[in-house]
């Protein structure tokens, strides 16, 4: 398809306000008569509450109230289960435990809320928090993923006799049988550790109960305003039309803002209805480290059976996945790990046993990548290790195992996060891989550059890793598109925006269909008053699911426009064109009518309309794919490591990505760059350090190191296009792609840089300290 607007590097319509300080974020909401909430949070990761004394806090001038679980009475209930275990899988053990608004008896992770202060200012509220006294009885903290399942271990949840949150097995083919034909059986254990999303904007919520109108207004920095609206209405005994949730501009989501019914989202609405005044809470950075969800911690035992030529006969895997103190988000993350543990490869036999465990740490829900990086990491590591053992070129072993391009759609048979069989819809891996190798000049590096640099005393290595990314999953999204009497277009969708440029890329789709300028399309996302149905922004699905809903709605409006214009202009529809906001008769430039005039005619104030006519030029459509679209790509990096300081420098970073049709290449590149920066963080700079007491030791940006411009390399992005067959746009998601293969590529490059040390990396993230330990362990 040749497009005029879709696929162009269009400047963003949302930028002018963002650039001049005129865009509304939740922290900017200031209402008359507004109160401020501050929370007393547990420092202990695991402790019984013996007593709470809020009396001194209540006496501080300006404090309106101090509340605990007891004060909530019948309004106190845990959050709803957000994602159930897949009904399509048999034999699943799932012990659902959800977070609570205010802790009653026992704290289960550091940062859980025990009391809330409401005051005239944030400063007074925080003063009052300091005056609250809680008598704790500390308990041993559950922190070790492997030990926590042992008999007699301390339990996170006393009403369970285990720390097991879930158990399931997924099988494809017959691994044990396939293994018999193997020339090499490799076994390795991998440790992967936690990282934070650390969006620049912390969470926040402002609630305003209007007693006279019986209406609750909510501003929430969330990725899913519509489910929040539905859940809040249900919890408060209100009808959905009594609640409006707006996710304004949100300063980065990356996953944790799709977690719903955080404690604060349960406490604030209760407070505003009780006090009959607006209440505001904006998270601070320290709270963000404790109370906003995190992800990535797993221990995996992986076995791979191969022929001596390097063909993968099968993979067997045991995953222990840490869900933290609660598991509201079901099995999404570890199911994604399983979906990506076979990588881009034709693996016929797969046997994966998953244990999910409770620990006394912050709740785990998806962070960019959402379990996919862990799957790609282990399969790529195993192939690197296999190529060393079999004395094969690591490139050859990939080429041999790629799913061939005529094998799509390729059904992996295991169940994925959308509860359906994992079907890779399309792909063409070899050309992308060759392109990456060519762009990074792999051959030249290995044969000429590396030996030359080594002779100069430099340790420089290369790593190239292919990956897939499941994207565009259902259930569905919707879009409403309407032509206004002004001739401009208004549109709405339920996928909120946290930087993904929806207001522009979706406007491009509409501009393409209706022949208008992108600037003339005003798209609202994240306001439940504008569209009633939707799920949210997650799992790299906005472009696929909402984008195709936008297309369907815009196409339907186009049909209505043509039908009406044909009547007015007395010309057959196939002789009409939409351009420049007008409907023109081809070859007769004077004969035209503007979209605005048509919109007025389509909504008569008096008179009769034909039966079955819908007023206006408006359409609301939904799109729900049967299964997702599989994006893929390859990342490559050349890095240097200083063996004295253990500091690294990435000299070159290339990506080849294939997300099908791109709506806006500028946006795609930006998403890749950002994803890579998070991925690089996950390799060497970012790790959430918990000690044996469940204490997070580095809960500040001074100690949790987000890559700055000084750590980031320039990133080259190359595109391939294998269109998605199952949606009209042919598009696939790309929001998480940048982050997915980075740790695997990094490990390969680092081992390659330190070849003579014969380093084998089976953990991520690393750090200068850890690399030093690993290298010196070799010596012992």
């Amino acid at each position: 398809m040749t497009y005029k607007v879709i696929g162009k590097r269009v400047k963003r319509v949302e930028d002018p306000r963002l650039l001049t300080g005129g865009a509304l974020f939740v922290g900017d909401v200031n209402l008359p008569n507004m109160l401020h909430a501050a929370f007393f949070r547990s420092d202990y990761a695991h402790a019984k509450i013996k007593s709470i004394d809020t009396s001194r806090a209540k006496e501080i001038p300006g404090v309106v109230g101090v509340y605990t679980a007891e004060d909530m009475g019948e309004a106190w209930e845990p959050g709803p289960p957000l994602v159930s275990p897949p009904p399509t899988l048999e034999g699943v053990v799932f012990n659902s435990r959800r977070q609570v608004p205010l802790v009653k008896d026992k704290v289960k992770h550091a940062g859980e809320i025990i009391a809330v202060v409401v005051a005239e200012s944030r400063y007074i509220a925080e003063d009052a928090v300091e005056e609250i006294w809680v008598d704790f009885e500390p308990l041993p903290a559950v922190t070790d993923l492997e030990k926590c399942l042992e008999q007699g271990h301390t339990l996170v949840h006393d009403d369970l006799d285990t720390n097991l949150a879930a158990h399931l097995v997924q099988k494809k083919g017959d691994y044990e049988e396939a293994k018999k034909g193997a020339d090499l059986i490799l076994k390795r254990k991998f440790k992967l550790d936690r990282g934070a999303a650390a969006a620049l904007e912390n969470r926040g919520i402002v609630v305003d109960w209007d007693q006279k109108n019986q209406h609750l207004m909510v501003w929430d920095a969330t990725q899913s305003p519509i489910p929040i609206r539905n859940g809040m209405a249900a919890r408060l005994g209100l009808r959905t039309h009594q609640v409006r949730v707006v996710a304004p501009f949100v300063g980065g989501g990356f996953g944790p803002k799709i977690m719903m019914f955080y404690a604060e989202e349960m406490v604030l609405p209760w407070l505003t209805m009780k006090l009959n005044r607006p209440v505001k809470w904006i998270e601070d950075r320290k709270e963000n480290f404790y109370a906003t969800t995190q992800e990535r911690e797993q221990v995996q035992e992986v076995e791979m059976a191969l022929t001596k030529e390097g063909k993968i006969l099968g993979i067997k895997q045991k995953i222990i996945h840490d869900t933290g103190a609660f598991n509201p988000y079901g099995l999404t993350t570890p199911l994604n790990t399983q979906s990506h543990s076979m990588g881009a490869y034709d693996v016929q036999n797969y046997n994966s046993e998953l244990f999910v465990v409770f620990t006394n740490k912050t709740i785990v829900t998806p962070v960019r990548g959402a379990g996919r990086p862990q799957g790609i990491y282990i399969v790529e590591r195993m192939l690197d290790i296999a190529s060393k053992e079999l004395k094969l070129d690591p490139r050859e072993i990939r080429r041999l195992n790629f799913i061939p391009k005529d094998a799509f759609p390729y059904n992996h048979e295991i169940i994925d996060q959308a509860f359906v069989e994992l079907v890779l819809d399309s792909g063409n891996y070899l050309p992308a891989y060759e392109k990456a190798l060519e762009k990074i000049e792999y051959d030249k590096f290995i044969k000429e550059e590396q030996p030359r640099l080594r002779a100069e005393g430099k340790y420089v290595g290369i790593g190239v890793v292919p990956f897939i990314e499941t994207t565009g999953v259902g259930p569905y999204e919707g879009a409403r598109v309407a032509v206004e009497p002004s001739g401009k277009i208004s549109a709405a969708t339920g996928v909120g925006t946290q930087g993904q440029s929806h207001m522009t890329s979706f406007a491009q789709i509409i501009a393409e269909e209706l022949g208008v300028e992108v600037e003339d399309v005003s798209l609202v996302s994240g306001d439940t008053a504008e569209i009633h149905w939707g799920t949210g922004t997650f799992a790299s699905r906005g472009a696929v699911v909402a984008g195709n809903a936008v297309l369907a709605a815009a196409s339907d409006v186009r049909i209505k426009v043509l039908k009406l214009a044909s009547k007015i202009l007395e010309t057959p529809e196939d002789e009409l064109e939409l351009e420049g906001g007008l409907v023109k008769v081809a070859d007769i430039p004077d004969k035209s009518i503007s979209l605005g005039e048509l919109a007025v005619l389509a909504n008569p104030f008096r008179g009769a309309v034909e039966p079955g006519t819908e007023p206006g030029l408006e359409s609301t459509k939904y799109f729900g794919p049967a299964y997702g679209a599989t994006a893929f790509g390859v990342h490559g990096m050349i890095l240097e490591v200083d063996p004295a300081t253990m500091m690294i420098k990435i000299h070159k970073y290339i990506t080849v990505e294939d997300c099908g049709t791109m709506l806006n290449p500028l946006v795609v590149e930006g998403q890749i760059h950002g994803g890579v920066s998070m991925g690089i963080g996950n390799c060497y700079y970012e790790k959430l350090h918990y000690d044996d007491n469940g204490q997070l030791l580095n809960a500040s940006l001074a100690d949790y190191l987000i890559p700055t411009s000084a750590e980031m390399p320039p990133i080259e992005v190359y595109h391939e296009n294998t269109p998605a067959p199952n949606n009209k746009l042919g598009t696939k998601g790309v929001g998480e792609a940048g982050a997915i293969p980075v740790p695997a590529a990094f490990a390969q490059a680092l081992e390659n840089a330190l070849l003579e040390f014969d380093l084998e990396i089976t953990e991520t993230p690393l750090s200068p300290n850890r690399l030093y330990e690993l290298l010196h362990k070799q010596e012992d």
Partner: protein
């Protein structure tokens, strides 16, 4: 309020006289008392740079200052750099190069870069990376920001 301070300060060319709680952070004063919400708060420990404003022309972290500390001084916030209809060349360059995604960190980058570009009209990529290494961005990976700075340098000369 028990303790108060009568603050006089000029912000974006306008003089303000306000009575404040002396421990009010400058970031909160700008955002709440003056309703200039373009300055964003990302960490309140001086690391992320989102709260950067210009104090007598120099970029400083407004989260690390108390409002009384700027008594009698001149401040420029992002709102003082340009308007929607009349953007600073750096703001325009940011838009052209897609140097912002969620936009939360952006005001801090703009206030940091505007005086820097005036002193460094022809920067190399290395120099740009160094200049912005005190501002965190989680969305862009910094690449397009660097492109925007190069573009702005061209525009400004």
């Amino acid at each position: 309020m028990e303790n108060t301070f009568e603050l006089s300060v000029t912000v974006n060319g306008t003089s303000y006289q306000k009575v404040v709680d002396p421990r009010t952070l400058l970031s909160d004063f700008l955002r709440n008392d003056l309703e200039l919400t373009g300055t964003h708060v990302g960490c309140e420990h001086g690391v992320c740079g989102a709260c950067t404003i210009l104090l007598n022309g120099d970029p400083v972290r407004s989260c690390l200052l108390f409002a009384p500390q700027v008594h009698g001084q001149e401040i420029i916030t992002v709102e003082g750099l340009g308007t929607v209809d009349d953007m600073h060349p750096l703001q325009e360059a940011f838009r052209e190069a897609h140097a912002l995604q969620c936009g939360f960190c952006t005001p801090g980058f703009l206030t940091t870069l505007v005086p820097w570009l005036e002193e460094n009209p022809n920067p190399t990529e290395e120099e740009i990376r160094e200049a912005i290494s005190g501002n965190l961005c989680r969305c862009t990976g910094y690449q397009h920001i660097i492109d925007a700075v190069k573009l702005a340098a061209e525009k400004m000369n």
